[in-house]
């Protein structure tokens, strides 16, 4: 038996397009390490450099959000189903997200270029 993991669209580039993959591990951290051995780069999209679960994803074990199960320390058993979804969040001005965004260079660059074009329009 193994643990079934559901992969969201945005991360299927790491799984060769597969929607469901299998892995094993006693904890979520172990499972992600196991998955990363076959789907290199996947773990890096879910876990921050500091070793915490990323703010941009929701991970569920069966029907529970792992944030309520100890996050990366959440215990897993054979036959469990793990679901990964992109967190849907945003808003005009998210103070809570500011720290998380600082590490997201692509997004920062994109909005910075938008800010420049907006200012250029305003000046005209």
């Amino acid at each position: 038996m193994a643990i079934e993991v559901r992969i969201p669209t945005i991360l299927r580039s790491y799984t060769g397009g597969a929607k469901i993959v299998e892995g094993s591990g006693d904890t979520l951290a172990d499972l992600l390490t196991d998955l990363d051995s076959r789907h290199a780069g996947l773990r890096g999209r879910l876990v921050t450099d500091a070793g915490a679960l990323h703010r941009f994803v929701n991970v569920y074990v069966n029907d529970e959000d792992v944030r309520f199960l100890g996050a990366l320390d959440a215990k897993l058993n054979d036959g469990d189903s793990v679901t990964i979804l992109p967190a849907v969040a945003g808003g005009a001005f998210g103070f809570a997200a500011a720290a998380a965004i600082a590490s997201h260079s692509a997004a920062t660059a994109a909005t910075a270029s938008h800010a420049r074009s907006a200012r250029a329009v305003a000046v005209r």
Partner: protein, 162 residues
């Protein structure tokens, strides 16, 4: 381009007005691969904030599973900005995790009119697209097109130094 039925747009605007001044958020599901939004699903804003929105993670799991069961996908992900323009903020771009979705923004800062704009957000890059509102209830063959503003021409509130 986003093509969407007027009744769905009306329901989204009503949701945004109802929750104003807090931000409202939700999904319009559609058959997978169709790029056609058909089923409006208003979501709770778990943040209950005037400047931030966040799907409740358990509600999201339920809704995403339901879409999966019905062979649907999130064609539109919408939220409102209640004091600023309908343009994706830095936060919106950072979180955008559905590369196939149309990110629809509604601004309710004006009491009488709504600004409605749609964007693709892929790998941190924002691309605006036209919105076509379809009056299917009147005559499915009579399609009226509306082009909303294509370039951000207003103050960028995020960069005001607050």
């Amino acid at each position: 381009m986003l093509s969407i039925d007027r009744s769905i747009i009306d329901a989204i605007v009503a949701h945004a007005r109802r929750d104003h001044p807090d931000e409202a958020c939700g999904v319009v599901a559609g058959p997978a691969g169709s790029d056609t939004p058909t089923r409006h699903i208003p979501m709770d804003n778990a943040a209950r904030s005037m400047t931030f929105y966040e799907f409740d993670s358990m509600e999201q799991l339920r809704v995403w599973r339901e879409m999966d069961d019905r062979d649907e996908e999130p064609v539109v992900i919408y939220h409102s900005h209640t004091a600023t323009e309908a343009y994706p903020s830095r936060t919106d771009v950072s979180f955008a995790g559905e590369p196939g979705a149309h990110y629809l923004l509604v601004s309710t800062r004006e009491p009488d009119t709504e600004e409605i704009r749609s964007f693709r957000i892929v790998d941190g890059v924002v691309t605006e697209e036209p919105v076509e509102i379809v009056d299917a209830a009147v005559d499915p063959n009579a399609v009226q097109s509306y082009m909303f503003g294509q370039s951000p021409a207003t103050v960028d509130y995020e960069c005001s130094g607050r």
